[in-house]
Each structure stands twice: as C-alpha cells, then as structure tokens.
Amino acid sequence: MAEIVSDQLQRASLDETKVKNEDEEEEECILQFLDSLDAYLTLVNSLSSSLREGWFDLASARQSMGHTRISSKLFDHKVHSASTTINITELDADNPSDPKPQFSLSKWATTKENPSSEVPNNSNLRHRVPIGVLDDGEKSNGTQVSSVVSNDIQKERSKSLTIFGGLVSPKLRTAQVSFETALDKIVEIANARSSMLSSFSQLQLNKKSSS
C-alpha cells in the first residue's frame, strides 16, 4: 500500500516537473516573440528615417543636376550582376518543420569574383596570427590587402553612380550612402521577421498540443 502511494507521489512529482518545464519553454518562446516583434517595429521606424534621408538627397541631386539626368530612362539594361547580394543560411537545420532563414548582406562584390573584395556586413576580417605578432612585412601586406579591397569597393560604388553621368552631384553620393544604410536595416528586419514568425509558429504548436 505504501509502495503504491509512493509510486503515485513520484509520478505526480514527475508530471509537475514536466508541466513546469513546458511552461518555462513557452514563456521563453513568448519572450523571444516579443523581442523580435519589438526589434521589427524599431527597425522599420529606423528604416523610414534612412529612406527619408535618401529621398531628400535624391531630390537635392535632381535639382542640381536636372530632372533628365536622374531618371529611370538612364538605367542600365545591359546584362549585369548585382554587386550587393544576400547570403541565406538556415539557422535551425535540425528542425525542418520550423524553417528559420538567416540573411546576411554582401556589399559591393566585384565582377572579378575575388572573395577578398567582398565586404560582409559585419566586416570581420580574419587574422590567422594575432596582430601583435605580425612583423613589419606582414603588417604592410595586410594594409595593402585592405587598401586593395577598399579601392575595389570604391570602384563598384563609382560604377553605380556613372549611370547618371561622369560628374555627379555630391548629394547623389550622399543618397547612395543613405540607401546603403537602409539595406543594412532591411537585412536586420528580414532576420527579425524570420525570428518572429518562427517563435509565433512554435507558440501555435504549443497551444494546439496543450488544448
């Protein structure tokens, strides 16, 4: 009799622990959802600011250069690849029922497809040796590589501007920078969206399994 009661008490305790763990997981999921929702709304607001700056600079450039010089009629319709692209990885490949893509921006890749010319959004350059240990020759080599990379990036930037002519207004360059900033925010918004939809679908699954 005592054994049966002890067994029942043990089962009740296990059930209670299981429910507690499920509640904690659900709360974590809710927090993740609310965090990504907050990030999404904040980033959209920030994107609006960047876009407004870009439109204003574009309007200023149009005023100084003339309306005919900044027009969609001048867009390049020859075959060419985008210099700024997106890389997609799946964050949780072990869970195919809940895909969570992760987006990252690759800015100003050159047409030569030189991997050292691409600038990832976080700009983390890898060093095989700690910087303090590099001798002068290697340090100058590292500086040369980074100056080659920034020259390539400047070339790609200038190429984008040349569709509007050789000499462009400084406002057009400023507009370019504003829209580049907007692109960074767009990628972050895409990641926040992905996180939000993933935690939302998890919450829906939890609700269905509990009802």
């Binding site: 574009l58 700024t84 692209t85 895909p99 767009i186 918004i189 969206r193 679908s201």
Partner: protein, 130 residues
C-alpha cells in the same frame, strides 16, 4: 506545418523591388540592380500607368524565383494586391513592406503583423481565461 520545405543555403541571392521610381533608383545606387541573360530585371517601377495585373504578375514572378532572397514592396503597392501578399507564407523570399515618399508605413496593414496580431486580441486572451 505541412508543406514547409527546407531552406537551402544560398549565396549571392538578389533583392527584388516593387516600388516607386525614387526608391528603386536609390537601391540601384546601392548596387542591388541585376539584369539576367533574358534581360529580366529584379525590379518593377510602379507609377500611375502601372496596372494591378502587372504588379500581381511581377509579385508572383519574384516570389517563385530561386535567386531572390528578399522582395521589397512599397506598402501602398502591397495594398493594391493585399490578398496576394497576405496569402503568401513561404519563409524565402522574405516579403518586406516598406514606406514610400507619399505613404508612410502603417503597422496595421503590414501582412506579417496582421498574421501575429491575434495573439494580442482581447478575444483570444478572454477565451484562454475561461
């Protein structure tokens, strides 16, 4: 959920745009413009002559292409094809509604927020408490 496909890792995917001229011009300055061998672009400039059918067809084309990661669509344009945008539920390409010069962003119309807003409705909270 049924029908969800795995997302393949993809490099050098494109950003597509369905927006007004200034927005498209700005993003082309930032280097996202692409013209493929078939002379197809990754953008559609929407003006007062663009028909709803053209916008619908372009949206369907962009969302079915494998080489596009993100589709940017001005929210006022998305409102013209709201049914199509709201019924889209694939993770990639991601559809992002952006403001335009004359139409500020309205979270009430955003398709992603509409999908999740029921979590905050008083009806769902009240029914859980009963």
């Amino acid at each position: 959920m049924a029908g969800r496909a795995q997302i393949p890792t993809r490099n050098s995917a494109l950003i597509a745009m369905i927006a007004d001229e200034d927005t498209v011009t700005g993003f082309l300055l930032a280097g996202v413009g692409n013209v493929d061998i078939r002379r197809k672009t990754n953008y559609l400039i929407v003006d007062n002559k663009t028909t709803v059918k053209q916008i619908e067809d372009t949206f369907k084309e962009f969302t079915n292409r494998d080489d596009i990661a993100i589709v940017l669509i001005s929210q006022y344009v998305a409102n013209m094809i709201r049914f199509l945008v709201d019924s889209y539920n694939k993770p990639v390409p991601a559809i992002l509604e952006i403001p335009s010069k004359d139409h500020p962003y309205d979270p009430a119309h955003d398709s992603v927020l509409s999908r999740v807003k029921y979590l905050f409705s008083t009806e769902s909270v009240a029914s859980d408490r009963r």
